[in-house]
Amino acid sequence: MTRLIAPLFLVVFALVPLWLNDPYLMNALIITGIFTICAMSLNLLLGYTGQLSLGHVAFFGIGAYVSALTALGFDVSLPFGLRITHEGGSPLLGFVLAILITGVTGYLIGRLSFRVRGAYFVIVTISFAEVVRLVALNWVELTQGPLALTSIPNMTLPLPGLGDLTLRTKMQNYYLVLGVAVLSYLVVARLVASRFGRAMRGLKENESLALSLGVNATRTLTIAATVSAAMAGAAGSLYAHYIRIIDPDVFLFSYTVTMVIMVVAGGKGSLAGPLVGGLIFGLLPVALRPVMAPEAQWIVYGGILIAILFVMPNGIVPALANLTARRRPASLTKTPETPAEAGAQS
């Protein structure tokens, strides 16, 4: 049944703009979609390799800044009299560069920190995110610091034979985010099902055994970090060209926490988990806003999170999967005993 969650989501959310005209809700769905992509990317690391990146927002923010600066252009002077001037280009180029540069960053962070894992990885990623935030805040010449990068152009897609299409409306951006989300989902699904996915699972479950079978731990984890970072970078780029203004607050720690909540509540290590978690915790604030005071909203938000994890410690999707597995007739899960097997057990 959990296999059907993703296709079901796709159908439902592909149809939403056809009947929903409320720009406020459309905006909420777009932002939720962007964070769901981040959650999917975090799930690749946290859910499948067991490594917690508490600085995931760094990749998101770098993606946003790279994409915005590629589109806007910049003019910075570096030490030794070097000077880099960039005229400004297409947002699509920015999107591609955001993916590449965050991918490389993820690779470097992975290489550096996977020699020592677990808590060390958590600390390295937190520190990294904080360093990047400080750079964005203080390198005013490049990033405008707290003054923010403004007037970031909307995403432009070159359509063959039709010229460029600039995505100005909410509906266009909605479908762009949905498209990238589907691609991200497919990338994760394919990776996890491949032998690379098996290597990740093996490492997470029993590292010594996996090593004895020839699994290269550093390489496997580094690839996971690279792909994960690149996906978060893509989400950052979408965010920059949709919101059209970014400041160092895109590196806020609370965004990372939101991603972690989406993954953990939805079910880490399951493909549909971040989708379900992302939807619930992306839209929950929107749902609570009209019915209660701002202070009460966050209390309820926290209460719901605690309630979910209390009832379903592994997250919503794995709990659903267990439920359906239990309901299935026993004959499907248990093969009848063969004479050979009965003999071996005697």
Partner: protein, 265 residues
């Protein structure tokens, strides 16, 4: 005949504790060699050194003439030297089939693109890998359990899964660390058949085991360790009558008694 694995004067100290003082022996291609000795003799430490999980303080290990001093465990596995673990070691949350598939992950290195796209080649490779996994599971006799979680199997069956995992990397040499502990007599008996079958397929086997009847039955040659030193080496018949071995297992006075009895007889 040159050795497939040479342990050359290996010593291992953990701080002040000497786990292995001076270990020196060769394993010949195609033989079943057993490493025996009382608990704490250094057998498992020796295994961990041979497979790269520990680096020896002194001496070196050669596999097919190659010094393993700087080789990581996963690289050693890829060279064709596989091992099983003393404690039951399986991927408990995965089915038996998935376990063996994880073991097979080193076969074929599809490009990153092929990892992402279900190209015909990638799909064919996937199908082939699956068939291979099923063949291995069939060989160890766990076909009926293929779709059950490895952690839910009996102790003896989990040892077989561990054995299947080691076979999955198609080793030229296999190190088995107490493979039949937790197995009953009939399971042990069929396991002996399995080990012989694997050896006949050309895989050299080094065995650590406490089940002496099993060791005596299956081994071509036996090496006996005590206090991190090699105390005897020979065929099962020679080892059975070796004074030093008897002393190591039964204590000094017992050994004397045994010898006296032998003299009286």
């Amino acid at each position: 005949m040159s050795a497939i694995l040479s342990v050359e004067h290996v010593g291992m100290r953990f701080g002040g504790l000497t786990a292995i003082a001076d270990l020196h022996f060769d394993v010949k291609p195609g033989e079943i060699l057993s490493l025996i000795g009382p608990n704490g003799a250094g057998k498992t430490t020796a295994f961990n050194i041979m497979t790269g999980f520990l680096k020896p303080t002194t001496g070196r290990v050669l596999f097919e003439g190659r010094d393993l001093a700087k080789t990581k465990p996963n690289e050693i596995a890829r060279l064709g030297l596989a091992r099983t673990f003393q404690r039951t070691s399986v991927f408990a949350n995965d089915t038996v089939l998935d376990n063996v598939l994880i073991g097979l992950q080193r076969f074929g290195e599809p490009s990153l693109l092929e990892r992402l796209l279900p190209t015909p080649r990638a799909l064919a490779l996937e199908k082939e890998t699956r068939a291979r996994a099923e063949a291995i599971i069939d060989m160890v006799g766990l076909s009926a359990r293929a779709h059950e979680k490895a952690g839910s199997l009996s102790y003896g069956e989990q040892r077989l899964v561990g054995f299947a995992l080691a076979l999955a990397i198609e080793p030229r040499m296999l190190l088995l660390d107490e493979p039949v502990s937790g197995m009953n007599a009939s399971e042990t008996q069929s396991f002996v058949g399995l080990v012989r079958k694997v050896r006949d397929a050309g895989v050299t086997i080094l065995l650590v085991e406490h089940d002496m009847p099993m060791v005596m039955e299956v081994s071509d040659r036996i090496v006996c360790l005590n206090y991190g030193r090699l105390i005897a080496e020979g065929t099962p018949a020679e080892i059975r009558n070796d004074a030093a071995v008897i002393e190591a297992y039964l204590g000094k006075s017992a050994a004397k008694l045994d010898l006296k009895e032998a003299a009286n007889a």
